[in-house]
């Protein structure tokens, strides 16, 4: 099965951590990504620019409406994702728990919709 692991964390707090010398999680993220590539679980993944760069788009009565910022204001923001292949939810949860940000924020594990045809 395929799962999307969505990484939610507080952007402001994460920015602070990254600005502190020696605190950045980048090496940890690199090691984690490499490990799920080697194990064959990795299908894709990206880090996102912060929500201050977000634009939300709606179409109403045929007109495009855009608003500045994310769809919803929340304490934790979507900061990145991994698309993985896993045997079942237990394996997916195990992988999600190894994402470095799981210690700071939360990882939402969502199965990918399977079309039968």
């Amino acid at each position: 099965m395929q799962y999307l692991l969505m990484i939610y964390q507080n952007e402001a707090e994460y920015a602070k951590i990254e600005a502190t010398p020696g605190q950045t999680m980048s090496p940890e993220y690199q090691a984690f990504t490499q490990s799920i590539i080697s194990s064959g679980n990795y299908k894709g993944g990206d880090r996102l620019q912060p929500t201050t760069t977000a634009t939300t788009v709606r179409v109403r009565d045929g007109k495009i409406l855009t608003t500045d910022g994310p769809f919803a204001e929340t304490r934790e923001q979507l900061g990145g994702y991994y698309l993985i292949e896993a045997k079942n939810l237990d394996e997916a949860i195990g992988i999600a728990a190894r994402i470095p940000s799981a210690r700071l924020g939360s990882i939402e594990v969502r199965p990918i919709w399977q079309y039968d045809h």
Binding site: A86, K87, N88, L89, D90, V109, P111, D116
Partner: protein, 414 residues
């Protein structure tokens, strides 16, 4: 067989038959549907005849064939139809030995799936009662104070999640097993407490829930005889349940521990519980919360009277619990034990400190314990107010009657 005898077989075999069928057909809903078909077939076939030698094997066999029929008929399976049917037949062929160990594994798989941490606790309980214990949706809905429709919805969603989110039908590996087992024990204990002290309604005790929980505990212990936490929990349930005959009058009124007729207690069940507590306590490592609670229940069960109870040791055991599994309810129970050792004034200070920290809001237990302590300290006006508060905080008719009785006693003394 009489319809009652057939019904009894269904009740006893439903969980295990379903557990095996889910593995064989690979789908919760399909397994439930074809098991229902098999029950319907059995009702027709068994009536007036001798029971088959192995009713579960009969049911599983009939249900499996029904599953194959359904898959063949269902066009949405068309592409994979042959493959699925083949897989079911192949598994069936290798399953003919009916080895008890395999069936045990199926049951453990089913329990572990129902108690998967990806479900909210109340969903775990509902799913376990429905699939493992074979209770009807209506029975479960009553316990949760939900409508039957709402409960049916919840169960449908849970089963959908098993399929769509890929919750595995397996017993977790060694490293995850302890954690899962803790979850399973919590579910069993929730079923038991709902049975032991119903949270609302006209009846104080729902015997069927307590019985189901004990049955689950025994089943789990048979499946994992080395797990001492299960022993502790089973002992706790047996010891509490053994006092059930003394806890209510014929008219459904509550009899508090201090007034209970101890000769009504189920001595056989107490003996079984005591043996299990001892095994759980003598196992290596630090005792777990259920085991400590069982040890407290054991002291009560062994005491010749309320006054001749080893309150000092009970207070000490509650202190252990406060360290390993602190909760406001444990604090209250600790205070009640302290009252018997050091007097009501000291206990009241503990209860008031708990209240000041905001513990146990909207709960009748705290004002009830306070009321009892105030009564013993002869502070009648405050006791009266506390009993009134306790009465307002409970939905249970027998508890309301108990508090009313205490109020009347206070008025009579005045």
């Amino acid at each position: 067989m009489t319809p009652e005898a057939i019904d009894k077989v269904f009740r006893n075999e439903a969980g295990r038959a379903l557990a095996t069928l889910i593995r064989l057909v690979g789908d919760f809903d399909l397994a439930e549907d074809v098991l229902q078909d098999a029950f319907a077939a059995a009702l027709l076939k068994w009536r007036g005849l001798e029971a088959p030698a192995n009713p579960r094997a009969w049911l599983v066999n009939v249900a499996r064939n029904k599953a194959i029929d359904r898959i063949r008929r269902n066009s949405s399976f068309r592409d994979k139809q042959q493959e699925i049917v083949h897989a079911i037949e192949r598994d069936a062929a290798s399953d003919d030995t009916d080895a008890p160990a395999d069936l045990d594994d199926d049951m453990l798989r089913l329990i572990c799936t129902c108690c998967h941490p990806a479900f909210a606790p109340e969903v775990q309980v509902a799913l376990t009662l429905r699939t493992v214990c074979g209770l009807t949706t209506a029975e479960i809905a009553r316990a949760f104070l939900a409508t039957e429709d709402a409960m049916a919805q919840r169960l449908v969603r849970a089963k959908q999640k098993i399929r769509l989110a890929g919750i595995p039908y397996e017993v977790p590996g060694r490293e995850a097993l302890d954690e899962r087992l803790r979850g399973v024990l919590t579910v069993i204990y929730l079923v038991f407490t709902e049975g032991y002290l119903a949270t609302s309604g006209p009846e104080l005790i729902r015997q069927d829930f307590a019985r189901e929980a004990i049955r689950l505990g025994r089943l789990l212990l048979a499946l994992m005889p080395e797990a001492r936490d299960i022993k502790g929990l089973l002992a706790l349930m047996l010891l509490h349940d053994a006092r059930r005959p003394g806890r209510t009058t014929a008219s459904g009124d509550i009899v508090l521990l201090e007034e209970q007729d101890r000769s009504t207690w189920n001595r056989e069940q107490i003996a079984e519980g005591l043996a299990l507590v001892e095994q759980a306590l003598s196992a290596k490592g630090r005792p777990q919360p259920y085991t400590v609670q069982a040890a407290i229940a054991a002291l009560h069960a062994q005491a010749p009277s309320y006054e001749q109870t080893d309150w000092r040791q009970i207070a000490g055991l509650y202190e252990v619990l406060l360290r390993i599994a602190p909760s406001p309810v444990i604090e209250l129970n600790h205070a009640a034990a302290v009252a018997m050792v050091d007097g009501a004034a000291r206990a009241l200070a503990l209860v008031d400190s708990l209240a000041a920290r905001g513990g146990l809001k909207q709960y009748d237990l705290l004002p009830a314990v306070r009321a009892d302590l105030l009564r013993r300290l002869d502070r009648r006006e405050e006791a009266r107010a506390a009993y009134r508060m306790a009465s307002e905080a409970t939905q249970l008719a027998p508890l309301k009657r108990l508090y009313a009785r205490r109020l009347a006693e206070l008025d009579a003394q005045a």
